[in-house]
Structure formats: C-alpha cells, structure tokens
C-alpha cells in the first residue's frame, strides 16, 4: 500500500492460537481496531477457536495437526511475508496478556529505523508486575544464555516482538515447541541486526496465568536447545 504506512497497512500481527476460544474473539476485535492486518495460526485447537477467528476480519491459517507454538509463529510469519506490502511483523499472544499500546509503540520504534528487531521487556522497571518466582526464573534464563548477555537483554522470553522485513525473511524458527523464544534470542545474538528492548507490561490475568507455561517446562526447553542440530 502507501509507503508511509500510517494506516498500519504494512504491519502484520501474527497470533498463534491454541485452544483460546474464551478470550480470542475479544482479543482479535481489539487488535483489528489498531492493526488492520492480523493472521491467526490455529495450531490444531479442539475448542472452536478457528470458528471464532472466522467471525472476525482476521486471516486464518490452520495447521492440519498440532505442531507447537514455535511452528505456529513461523507459519504466521511465512504467511504474512507473502502478503503484499508487509514490512513489519508483530508477534502477539492470543490470551490477551499483551497491550496493544505497547505493540503500537514498538512498531513506531521499528518504523523510525532505530532498530531491526524490537523486543518487549517486562523488566525495564525492575519487573514489579511479574510474579516473584517467574521473575527469578526469567532473569536466570537471560543470564544463562550467551546471546542474551551479548545483546544485554533483560527479558528473553517475552512473547511480544516486532520484526522488520529483512529479519522476518531471514529468521527460520525450527524449535516447534516453547524453545523458540531462546532460539530467537540465540539467532539475534549471532546476527548483526540491531536489537532494541522496549518496556512493556503484561496483564497477568487469571486466564493468562492458567495458560502460561509451567516453570518445569524450562527443563524441556534446555534439553531441546542443547541437543538441537547445530548450524543446520
């Protein structure tokens, strides 16, 4: 579309969806009010989430089988990249824990040309809104990752990210499960993209808490990452 993109036509919001029917429609309606282009990747939900997407103006891509959140993100990116005029890609969670104001602010940072990748961080203010145990685990995760230290990230596992076109073209998420967050950080650490963190706040609602990943899952993530195919 037009090149100044003030209308947000060049922004694509990628939302992986897995059994989120309770909140999905309201999240999508709010999102579509800010960003006209939204693609939902349904990862084999069994609760009518795809039907909820079809009631909105959001694009729907359905995985024929459940593949995992990382795979859904990559599918959404691949789909959005093929759409005409797409220049900025926002990764957004379906459970309503991210704020659209934050996403819009991050797109503005990317648009200003100050960064190729904009990541949300919950810890700009010391992370007062994050539950204590989660805070400890997340901080440890950043400190343990070499790429995270190199990029001086404060929050490696925030689901809110904005990619510019060249980054989206280059990134290949191969960790289908939850390890994709670490994979993205590691990818950025090995690349020359300019990465910027922007403070965001997360709404830890009852719903998002119940959907949130268990801390034990960190063990799975560490295992997957350490045995993955190197350099492939």
């Amino acid at each position: 579309m037009t090149d100044d993109g003030r209308s947000g036509d060049d922004v694509w919001v990628v939302i992986p969806v897995f059994n989120e029917v309770q909140v999905l429609e309201s999240v999508l309606d709010q999102t579509l009010a800010v960003f006209p282009n939204v693609v939902c990747v349904d990862d084999g939900s069994r609760d009518g989430s795809p039907a909820a997407v079809l009631r909105t103006r959001a694009h729907l891509v359905r995985h024929p089988v459940n593949l995992g959140q990382g795979a859904a993100l990559q599918t959404g990116l691949t789909y959005a990249r093929a759409q005409p005029g797409a220049r900025y890609f926002v990764m957004f969670d379906a459970d309503g824990q991210h704020r659209l104001e934050d996403a819009a602010a991050m797109v503005e940072v990317a648009r200003s040309g100050a960064a190729d990748v904009v990541l949300g961080t919950r810890f700009a203010d010391g992370g007062a809104s994050v539950p204590l145990l989660k805070r400890i685990v997340l901080r440890t995760a950043v400190l343990l990752s070499r790429a995270g230290r190199k990029l001086k990230l404060t929050d490696a596992h925030n689901g809110l990210r904005v990619l510019t076109r060249p980054v989206a073209d280059d990134l290949q998420i191969t960790m289908n499960g939850m390890a994709h967050a670490s994979e993205i950080v590691s990818y950025l650490g090995h690349s020359t993209w300019r990465v910027r963190e922007v403070p965001v706040s997360i709404r830890y609602t009852e719903y998002s808490r119940s959907k949130g990943q268990s801390l034990l899952n960190g063990v799975n993530i560490l295992f997957d990452l350490s045995v993955r195919q190197r350099g492939g």
Partner: protein, 134 residues
C-alpha cells in the same frame, strides 16, 4: 578402578558428541563404524567368553558378562541420542510439509472470505529447510 574411569569417560564422550555434533560426514561415518565394531566385539565375546573374562579382570570387573552389560548401557545411551536427533530431522520435514499445506489452504479460504484485499500470488513457497541426512 580402571573400568569406572572408562565408563564415565564414555558417557561424557557420548554426551559431548551429541550436544556439539555439527552433522558433519565424519559423525555419520563414525556412528556406522562404531556400530560395526560393536557387533564384531559382540560376536567375539560370544565365541571366546574366556578372553572376555580376562579383559574384564584387567579392567577391574568381576565377570565378562558384567563388562558386556556396562558396554550395553553406554551403547544404549548413544543409540537413544542418535534416535532422538534422527527424530528431530523427521519432525522438521513433517513441520515443513504441514506448513505448506496449511498456507496453501489458508490463501484459498481467506480469499473466499474476502479478507484479502488484493489477489494473492504466493503459492506458500518458502526456502526449503535443510534437513540433511545423517
């Protein structure tokens, strides 16, 4: 004892190889050589159990069969890791296939729903993921 040293070393070696392996040709080749050697050693151990017991004594293990058991544990671990990596490669191909199908179908569906403003020309192709055999 010598055997403890060797076993710990073998387990660490297996871990190291599978965490660091770059998928190079030599990894694949050495896996196969190891398999052949393991089979040959097994045949020898069955044919000459006394030699095995002598070797076990030298290493500080009581009986030859115990030595075979220890070797089996290490081989099992290596096999599991190898299988896991193999599985990951297959999983990657399977994902790529599912993704292509999903995107192709989605472009038809979304055009029919009228949410796409322009005709879409993409066929959902992406850069093929490298899924090297090994």
């Amino acid at each position: 004892m010598l055997i403890q040293f060797l076993l710990v070393l073998a387990v660490l070696g297996v871990l190291f190889v599978f965490v660091r392996s770059s998928g190079a040709v030599y990894v694949q080749a050495s896996k196969r050589i190891a398999l052949v050697l393991f089979a040959a050693a097994n045949i020898y151990a069955v044919m000459r159990p006394d030699d095995l017991t002598t070797l076990a004594r030298m290493l500080g293990v009581g009986r030859g069969t115990d030595l075979v058991l220890y070797a089996l544990v290490v081989a099992f671990m290596a096999g599991m890791f190898s299988f896991y990596q193999r599985f990951r490669i297959v999983d990657r191909r399977y994902t790529e296939l599912a993704r292509t199908v999903a995107i192709r179908e989605a472009e038809l569906v979304n055009r029919e729903r009228g949410v796409t403003t322009r005709p879409v020309v993409s066929t959902g192709e992406g850069t093929p993921v490298s899924t090297r055999d090994r």
